[in-house]
């Protein structure tokens, strides 16, 4: 028989580590139905018939956060065969609060007392036998980080599940409250599920909306119950919910007083507290954070000898995908007698290998960045970053928790978007998902390099302005969107537990790094392969003087490519006659030609940048590669530089200063690459919101590029006063209006902590 075991516990109690210990790599990760809360399920190592269900980290079973609702619905409706309640031994009092609620569910339960190594180190003493007899439930010591005790916990849970052993539930409530709840139990008997009778009664006493909805009580029953509650509230002089909360804590204090001896006097600062005094300090907090960030970028993306990320990516691009992989396929294709110049050869080498290679090349750099971020997360510093940045972000209507996704997005937008999951409030999370890819990610850096090099003489200010525009776009979007009804309201109050600092666990950090990296590689293997093939097809095929086929081959046939045809093509594509090449006759060029008028008002209404922008949807670094092809770079002598150094002259000749800048702005801000769009779709979990996000980003990019080109051009004297600049000024005024107007005023209830109502 299959056994289902649920893993429940507070956030930061080591639940994920225990789950990984128990299931190894046999995990299935998905979403809970209808919400973007991660659902993790796995088979117990060595027991194919035991399924471990990891519930989200929660503080209680009240219906306030999505996580709580999800966990509660699972426990009550799915009725797992046993619960493993993981309790942080260094913080027993707060963790037992959830335990008291879980005990009411009458499901066989074992308590895994985690972090016992730390408990001993702190000099605390926990009498597990006493704890166990007080709670009426097995307590097993555990140290998930050191992988000690996990097997005992699992075996105990299986045993309990098989024997259906439910311990003696301790009486948590006392006196009047106990009586009141007993009376309600009487009223509910026959209506509520027998097994959950006491749970239901307590929830009804708390006036829990979800439970009341479920029970459908008749109005006279409702009145009887309400009378019982009111009488109790009156004599206790408190509301029913607080009464229960207080009783739980009173009970817990009683338990811990007998079973736990603290090695440290109450109020004495722990090491974590001492570190926090410095790193979250009002004055030192920000400079310390800036220094940490600098070190991370120096290692992952910089150009120094410590920059292992850059070195690894260069190696992948130049050697693995520059020589080894194409060489490998050359050998295979050669053995199969597939000649260069045939359709199949082009599809494999130019389409798939080149397309996927361009994306995979970024993986080593990203892995280094993710590794460093995972270390910061594991140590506990990321939570502090959110706290330090909250002060600043709150001014713009965003929560400090939105900062971490933006930070990750400077490496790659995909994990950046995924990192938005930690934001509980639904509106804040959607807003973050919509804006976080404005940050210039690693793949956008070559675009910046190309424009800075070709047009601005390599000025470092262009890169600085790109980051400034990215952050500015996030902040301005925050202010503007917050004034619309869908996003209105203060950012949710910032309440966040700061886990104690600890030495990072190697396995945990590597696993987190790999999970993020792998989700990126998987997309590279699906979306990017398909879109690379499409782009390759469009660029390789075309009609040359009435003949359809591979344009490269057709161009070699002098009976087809007549002088007259070349002249016509040069006119049509607006290029010098010497520069005409096969690409100009491709389908892609025709598509670009049709779409290019859209970009005319932005100063780059030529088919080449249009096509580059389209290929940028596959992966942003493709933009520079496409420019290389379109600007006729002859790759016979040497590889095109990452920032397209060899074509700078030709690019410069084609653009005005502001036109090139506007091109860069548009490409930095518009719809991100397909991989990131996929991530947005997953996080939004809703087609309408996904399109809204893509539409907003592209619209924002268009408006900003329009203003930069037209108004900027007017200011620099690039072009005179006319329709463009007038429209630009109108748009700018509109933007300012959106920024300063009085927005939609939500009523008090919208300023809530939770996202439940928005989704329920």
């Amino acid at each position: 028989m299959e056994i289902k075991i649920a893993l429940a516990g507070n956030p930061n109690s080591g639940k994920t580590t225990l789950f990984n210990n128990l299931t190894g790599s046999r995990q299935y990760v998905g979403n809970w139905p209808g919400v973007t809360v991660e659902k993790k399920e796995g088979k117990l190592k060595g027991h194919d018939d035991v399924i471990i269900q990891d519930l989200p980290g929660i503080y209680s079973l009240s219906p306030y956060t999505l996580e709580e609702v999800v966990s509660r619905t699972y426990l009550v409706n799915e009725k797992p065969d046993a619960i493993i309640n993981i309790v942080d031994g260094t913080n027993i009092e707060r963790n037992l609060y959830l335990t008291t609620q879980l005990l009411e569910l009458n499901i066989p339960m074992v308590i895994a007392l985690n972090m016992m190594d730390l408990v001993r180190k702190n000099g605390d003493k926990v009498d597990t036998a006493k704890l166990s007899s007080e709670l009426g439930c097995e307590v097993i010591e555990l140290s998930a980080l050191k992988n000690e005790g996990a097997d005992d916990v699992a075996n105990k849970a299986i045993q309990l599940a098989q024997n259906k052993t439910i311990g003696n539930r301790p009486s948590i409530l006392s006196g009047e409250v106990e009586n009141a709840v007993k009376q309600i139990e009487g009223e509910l008997s026959g209506i509520a599920d027998d097994k959950f009778l006491s749970w239901s009664a307590i929830k009804v006493f708390e006036r829990d909306s979800k439970e009341l909805e479920k029970l459908h009580l008749a109005s006279d029953k409702k009145k009887n119950i309400e009378d019982i509650i009111e009488a109790c509230e009156k004599s206790m002089d408190d509301d029913s919910e607080s009464i229960i909360t207080n009783q739980r804590y009173t009970y817990i204090t009683g338990v811990t007083d007998t079973a736990v001896k603290k090695g440290r006097a109450k109020g004495e600062l722990s090491i974590s507290d001492k570190i926090d005094k410095i790193v979250t300090n009002r004055i030192l907090g920000l400079p310390i954070f800036a220094l940490v960030m600098f070190l991370i970028y120096a290692i992952a993306m910089g150009g120094w000898s410590v920059s292992i990320g850059t070195a690894a990516t260069d190696f992948t691009n130049d050697v693995i995908f520059g020589e080894w992989v194409p060489g490998f396929f050359d050998t295979i294709l050669g053995a199969l007698h597939v000649e260069e110049g045939t359709v199949l050869y082009g599809l494999i080498q130019d389409g798939i290998v080149a397309g996927v290679g361009a994306v995979i090349g970024f993986v080593p750099q990203m892995l280094v960045l993710f590794l460093l971020l995972a270390i910061l997360e594991d140590i506990g510093y990321m939570a502090r970053v959110a706290f330090v940045m909250d002060r600043i972000f709150r001014q713009f209507g965003l929560s400090g928790k939105s900062f971490v996704p933006c930070l990750v997005a400077t490496g790659c937008g995909v994990p950046g978007v995924m990192a938005s999951r930690t934001i509980e409030n639904d509106r804040d999370r959607k807003l973050t998902v919509m804006t976080t890819t404005f940050m210039p990610c690693g793949a956008k850096l070559p675009i910046i390099g190309l424009i800075a090099g070709a047009i601005f003489g390599g000025s470092p200010w262009i890169a600085a302005s790109a980051y400034f525009i990215g952050i500015g776009s996030i902040i301005l979007s925050g202010i503007i969107l917050k004034k619309f009804k869908a996003f209105a309201g203060e950012p949710a109050p910032f309440v966040m537990e700061l886990p104690p600092y600890h030495v990072p666990s190697v396995v945990g950090v590597l696993r987190a790094t790999w999970e993020r990296g792998w989700s990126f590689i998987k997309r590279a293997g699906s979306v990017i392969v398909i879109s690379s093939i499409i782009i390759w097809f469009l660029s390789a095929f075309g009609t040359v003087n009435g003949h359809f086929g591979l344009v490269d081959n057709l161009f070699e046939d002098e009976t087809i490519v007549t002088d007259e045809y070349v002249q016509k093509l040069a006119d049509r594509m607006d290029v010098e006659i010497d520069d005409v090449n096969a690409m100009d006759a491709s389908l892609l060029a025709s598509v670009g030609n049709v779409i290019s008028p859209v970009f005319k008002p932005l100063g780059f209404g030529n088919w080449k940048p249009t096509v580059a922008t389209i290929t940028g949807l596959v992966a942003k670094e493709e933009v520079v590669g496409t420019f290389g092809v379109l600007y006729n770079y002859d790759d016979s002598d040497e590889e095109l530089g990452e920032e397209g150094e060899q074509i700078w002259d030709r690019v410069a000749a084609d653009y005005t200063t502001m036109g090139a800048f506007s091109f860069m702005v548009f490409n930095l801000l518009c719809a991100p690459c397909f991989a990131a769009i996929g991530a947005i779709k997953r996080e939004m979990n809703n087609a309408k919101w996904t399109w809204a996000a893509i539409g907003y980003m592209t619209g924002w990019a268009y408006v900003l590029a329009f203003i930069f080109y037209n108004v900027g051009g007017l200011l620099t004297g690039e072009h005179g006063f006319g329709l463009g600049p007038i429209l630009g000024i109108v748009l700018l005024a509109g933007l300012i209006y959106l920024l300063v107007r009085k927005g939609y005023q939500p009523d008090e209830s919208a300023k809530s902590l939770t996202s439940v109502d928005a989704n329920a």
Partner: protein, 69 residues
């Protein structure tokens, strides 16, 4: 007085928690209940890190001002 007026290093006892039921309930689940002793680990322009029941909770000004000590 509200918790926001405290300086880093001070230890106090919570007297009362205000605000909507929902906010109060959430705070109580995190360990902020009347009678509980808490200490301020760090403070920056009203945002606080509070040591309560052996863990550290970061609170912004709007949340901290609901806790009377």
């Amino acid at each position: 007085m509200p918790l926001t007026l405290l300086k880093a290093g001070e230890t106090v006892t919570i007297r009362k928690i205000g605000g909507s039921d929902e906010v109060r309930q959430h705070l109580s689940e995190l360990g902020f209940v009347a009678g509980e002793q808490v200490s301020v680990v760090s403070e920056s322009s009203g945002n606080l890190i509070i040591h309560v029941k052996d863990c550290r909770i970061a609170l912004d000004k709007s949340m901290a001002s609901r806790i009377q000590v």
